[in-house]
């Protein structure tokens, strides 16, 4: 543990709340000021994040840095313990980047029914919850941050979402609540049965071996449901397509890029290290469900008629690869999973941005009504093509380095799994998962072909505005706008950079992963 600049992580996490406090005093009519304060806050937060990047000691990425621990809830031995290592760092920074970019995008894309002030406040609260989850080193603190994101996202979907928003938001909320209630009981049971000195991760990891085998299996099951709902893993995924489809663009991006990662991060940080024995027994189950998710998600994609819903199902498939990597219990697999989390955040986040922009221009996401985007809006069309390629795992782009090592690692799972006679099962999973990448190529290329190739749909050819209040005499169909460029360019660059030079992220994560799982 490196206990220098202990204030840094708290500042980065809670700064958005300071922005919220300021925004509370801005009159609702003054939307421009509200947006400015929101964006300045998010930018300041990201600056703190960049400063954190420069101060991080990459030579000791396996250690928790900027570590600080304080008394918090003494009667139950919960502490305010935070720290950052190579596993947390990429996700922590990613959450800050995504929030800022989403806010920039929102400058001229506030969804119906408006109210920029509330919208920006919710995004800032979300940011605190997300960043806090990635730095928490105490189970109770983790739980609190994990839950902080729940209400803002519920309101984001429910107030600013599409037609079916109320149903989708309720489904999202109840699923997540159900998962976290069981998770909380599992956390408490872990603390009590392990007789740990406190809820701090370090204490629990050390004491985890005290838990009896049967109890450990049950506790792991509780955590599994909590995290699996969030990921989401098959068969707990059914909230996701609805939530994603109905959420406003900004909500979909944050959901895909960060919120889903809270679940996978929980597996890597909490469930596996604290209950290694139970993890060994559960790993094959996780692996099988992960691969079912890959295939099911891909088949689901092929059946979709709505572009956004298709991207949502592709999330199920991609998170399947991440979970497959985790289920191998090997450093390689978990490295791949960690990389896959970030890559999926960048790529699927971009895809949702594009879907939002397409919807704004055509007022529909029905694939069969879209065509010829490359002619009508060449830049948007090319960006969609680029992201589709990245998403299907084209080598040289970020998506590849999440999927490919995950598949490889499943061929040679951890020795304990081999010893338990699961090698054959995992080899089978490898083959099915590899087939999944073919399906991924199929649905993404098919999507691209249907929407971007060919001639523009005559329906939109001479579009001079719909009668729905958006069009004021000129066409809604225009190429990528300035705020879109600002919001998207960093993501596009990151996809290329991490694709060409994945070592940039692997070298940060690997020491920490090896430290946790290399034993």
């Amino acid at each position: 543990m490196i206990q220098e600049q202990q204030w840094l992580l708290s500042l980065g996490t809670f700064l958005p709340l300071a922005g919220v406090l300021v925004m509370l005093f801005i009159p609702r009519k003054n939307e421009v000021l509200a947006k400015e304060v929101g964006i300045v806050t998010a930018a300041a937060t990201l600056l703190v994040g960049i400063y954190t990047l420069t101060q991080f000691d990459y030579g000791q990425a396996e250690k928790l840095q900027f570590f600080t621990t304080n008394e918090w809830i003494k009667p139950i031995n919960a502490t305010f313990t935070i720290g950052l290592d190579g596993i947390s760092l990429p996700l922590y920074i990613l959450s800050m980047v995504i929030t800022l970019l989403v806010m920039v995008y929102s400058w001229d894309h506030i969804p119906e029914p408006g109210n920029a002030k509330a919208f920006f406040i919710l995004m800032l609260v979300l940011q605190t919850g997300m960043a806090g989850t990635f730095i928490a080193q105490d189970l109770i603190l983790f739980f609190v941050f994990f839950e902080v994101v729940l209400l803002p996202m519920y309101f984001m979907i429910g107030v600013w979402g599409g037609e079916n928003r109320q149903y989708a938001s309720l489904k999202f909320f109840l699923y997540t609540m159900f998962g976290s209630a069981l998770m909380l009981v599992a956390f408490i049971a872990l603390y009590i049965t392990s007789k740990s000195a406190s809820f701090a991760f370090a204490d629990l990891t050390a004491a985890g071996a005290n838990v009896g085998r049967t109890a450990a299996m049950w506790i792991f099951a509780g955590m599994f449901i909590g995290f699996a709902v969030k990921v989401p893993m098959f068969p707990f995924h059914t909230w996701l397509p609805d939530a994603h489809t109905q959420a406003p663009t900004q909500g979909s991006v944050i959901l895909a890029a960060i919120l889903l990662k809270l679940g996978t991060y929980g597996f890597v940080r909490i469930a596996l290290p604290m209950l290694p024995q139970a993890a060994k027994s559960w790993a094959p189950v996780i692996g099988v469900l992960a691969v079912i998710g890959i295939i099911y998600g891909a088949l689901g994609c092929l059946a979709q008629t709505d572009m956004k819903r298709l991207i949502a199902f592709s999330s199920v498939a991609h998170m399947g690869f991440v979970m497959l990597g985790i289920s191998t219990l090997t450093p390689l697999g978990i490295n791949a999973a960690m990389f896959g989390m970030v890559a999926h955040g960048l790529i699927t986040g971009m895809l949702f941005f594009i879907a939002g922009s397409v919807k704004e221009r055509y007022h529909t996401l029905e694939i069969k009504r879209l065509s010829g985007m490359l002619i009508q809006m060449p830049r948007l069309g090319w960006i969609l093509g680029f992201c589709a390629m990245a998403s299907l795992g084209l080598p040289g782009l970020a998506g590849f380095w999440g999927e490919f090592p995950a598949i490889i690692s499943s061929w040679n799972p951890a020795e304990v799994l081999v010893a338990n006679g699961h090698e054959g099962l995992y080899r089978g999973l490898t083959i099915v998962a590899a087939l999944g990448t073919v399906l991924a190529a199929a649905y993404l290329l098919w999507l691209y072909q249907r929407t971007s190739f060919g001639t523009p749909n005559p329906e939109f050819a001479g579009d001079h505005g719909h009668g729905d209040g958006h069009g004021d005499g000129h066409s809604d169909i225009h190429d990528v706008g300035i705020y879109e460029w600002i919001a998207w360019t960093p993501l596009l660059i990151a996809i290329v950079v991490f694709g060409v030079y994945p070592q940039l992220m692997f070298k940060v994560m690997d020491p920490a992963v090896t430290h946790l799982f290399g034993k």
């Binding site: 609702r28 008394e71 918090w72 809830i73 003494k74 009667p75 139950i76 509330a118 109770i140 739980f143 609190v144 839950e147 902080v148 729940l150 209400l151 519920y154 309101f155 429910g158 107030v159 928003r165 109320q166 938001s169 309720l170 909320f173 109840l174 609540m177 159900f178 209630a181 069981l182 909380l184 009981v185 408490i188 049971a189 009590i192 049965t193």
Partner: protein, 500 residues
């Protein structure tokens, strides 16, 4: 005879320890006198004075808590001021103050008898404050009647409204019935122990294997189960809550309920602590039934006060839950702590919710949940506060309610028994079901249009604003820094007193 009278020695009275009760008693006489001499149009003074009396009574509670130190035990250990008592006295006094804030406009505009109302309110609070310290069958019973009888009248305060009359009568009839049951149980306990002091009863009853002891324990629990509206003894609650004036409902669902739990806890921990084979299964069934049935009925409600009434029944189940394992293993300490902390957090949250209801229904003139549509658009502040209170009731971090639920779960898991784990899972499922009806209101406020196209802001009277702010700060603070309340109800302090 005369000699024995003359030999009476005045017991030592610790006036500092009794100061809250003395201030309240003097204060309620003062309000009564004021009511006689103040002209009609200035009757609001009685409310203001009542508020100051409650705050004044809070001062000695605070000083006693700050001084800390030894447990102050009066009258041969039958009236005890320890941290448990102080925490609950603080709760009753502050809850009473918030209710005064909520009542002032309602009473003023309704043209009700203000003076009498505040006198009754103060009397009821005095009974609660006494309950927190009572460690004797007689003082427990006297305190219970003291707090209940004024509440019967307050429930029927809108006397020209048949619903309010129904509320009062129902509450009264079932209340006195419960008292009778309780008294019968107490008489059995007294018969076995030949003492009214709780700790002596506890020693005499032992593990409660005698049939009379079992009957006594069950009757006592049933008596209190009426007070805390545990299923199946809850039937009065929804009608009474809906019919009573809303500030009174807030008072009943928070303070009166907490007082019931205070008495129940004292009985469980002192009068029959070793009879766990008798009370634990009974509490287990009560808790499981209460949280489940309360929830299922709350799901169907369309009136917000009725919904909160059933929600409060269900919350009561969560407070009972730790008591179902209070005798198993090491769970006694966490269970007691869980109950006290739950009561404190629930009080702030539920009072806040009722405060917002009062503020909103002044404008909408309706109790239907559907009338809350579009609140976020025309009164964003109230909508956000209501969201905070509802989310806290649902147990979503970082709002107080999560820690209350956490403590309850921790206690039952700590017991390490199959019964404990089972009720933990039942509780977890119920916690999720409960969110469904809290979220209905949130959805109405945030996502539905206003039913009558209302756009103008809601005017909230300043006392109600203060009440909402107090409850909101409390709810947030206890969620973010639960350590601030969690130290109350430490068993170390309690067993010291309880064992005495």
């Amino acid at each position: 005879m005369l000699a024995s009278l003359l030999a009476f020695a005045r017991p030592d009275v610790d006036y500092h320890a009794l100061a809250p009760e003395i201030v309240l008693a003097a204060g309620l006489c003062l309000v009564l006198l004021l009511d006689l001499f103040v002209p009609d149009h200035r009757r609001w003074i009685t409310g203001t004075v009542a508020g100051f009396v409650l705050l004044g009574a809070f001062i000695p509670v605070a000083t006693l808590a700050v001084i800390g130190g030894d447990v102050r035990s009066l009258f041969d250990g039958r009236y005890v001021i320890d941290e448990f008592a102080l925490a609950l006295k603080g709760l009753f006094l502050l809850a009473g103050y918030v209710v005064v804030l909520l009542s002032s406009n309602e009473m003023e505009e309704g043209g009700y008898h203000q003076g009498e109302y505040y006198v009754l309110l103060l009397t009821s609070v005095l009974g609660m404050v006494m309950m927190a310290s009572s460690r004797d069958l007689i003082s427990v019973f006297v305190a219970l009647e003291f707090l209940s009888i004024p509440a019967y009248m307050m429930a029927a305060w809108r006397k020209r409204d048949t619903k309010s009359n129904e509320a009062g009568v129902k509450y009264y009839l079932l209340g006195v019935f419960a008292s009778a049951v309780l008294l019968y149980g107490m008489s059995l306990l007294f018969g076995l122990a030949k003492s009214t002091k709780l700790s002596e009863i506890g020693a005499a009853i032992g593990d409660g294997s005698k049939a009379a002891a079992v009957l006594g324990i069950v009757f006592v629990i049933v008596g209190f189960a009426f007070k805390v509206s545990a299923v199946p003894f809850h039937t009065w609650a929804p009608d009474t809550y809906q019919g009573a004036p809303t500030p009174v409902t807030a008072f009943l669902s928070v303070a009166s309920k907490a007082a019931g739990f205070t008495g129940l806890v004292a009985m469980v921990y002192l009068a029959f602590p070793m009879a766990k084979d008798v009370y634990q299964p009974f509490m287990w069934v009560l808790a499981a039934l209460t949280m489940t049935v309360g929830n299922l009925l709350a799901l169907k409600q369309t009136n917000i006060v009725r919904m909160l009434a059933y929600s409060s029944v269900s919350q009561g189940g969560f407070i009972l839950m730790p008591l179902a394992v209070a005798g198993t293993g090491d769970a006694a300490g966490p269970a007691l702590k869980a109950v006290v902390v739950y009561l404190l957090i629930y009080a702030a949250t539920n009072l806040g919710a009722f405060a917002v209801i009062i503020a909103v229904s002044r404008t909408t003139r309706s109790g239907e949940i559907s009338s809350w549509g579009g609140l976020f658009n025309y009164a964003p502040g109230l909508a956000v506060m209501m969201t905070i209170f509802l989310a806290s009731l649902a147990g979503i971090p970082p709002l107080g309610g999560w820690y209350a639920k956490f403590g309850a779960f921790r206690a039952v898991v700590d017991a390490g028994s199959g019964w404990g784990y089972t009720i933990a899972v039942i509780g977890a499922i119920n916690a999720v079901v409960a969110t469904a009806y809290y979220i209905t209101v949130m959805r109405e406020m945030w996502m539905k249009p206003a039913p009558d196209g209302r756009v103008s802001a809601v005017k909230v009277p300043s006392p109600v604003v203060v009440a909402i702010a107090l409850c909101g700060i409390g709810t947030l603070l206890m969620g973010v820094l639960p350590g601030s309340v969690a130290r109350f109800g430490d068993l170390a302090d309690l067993t010291h007193a309880f064992g005495g």
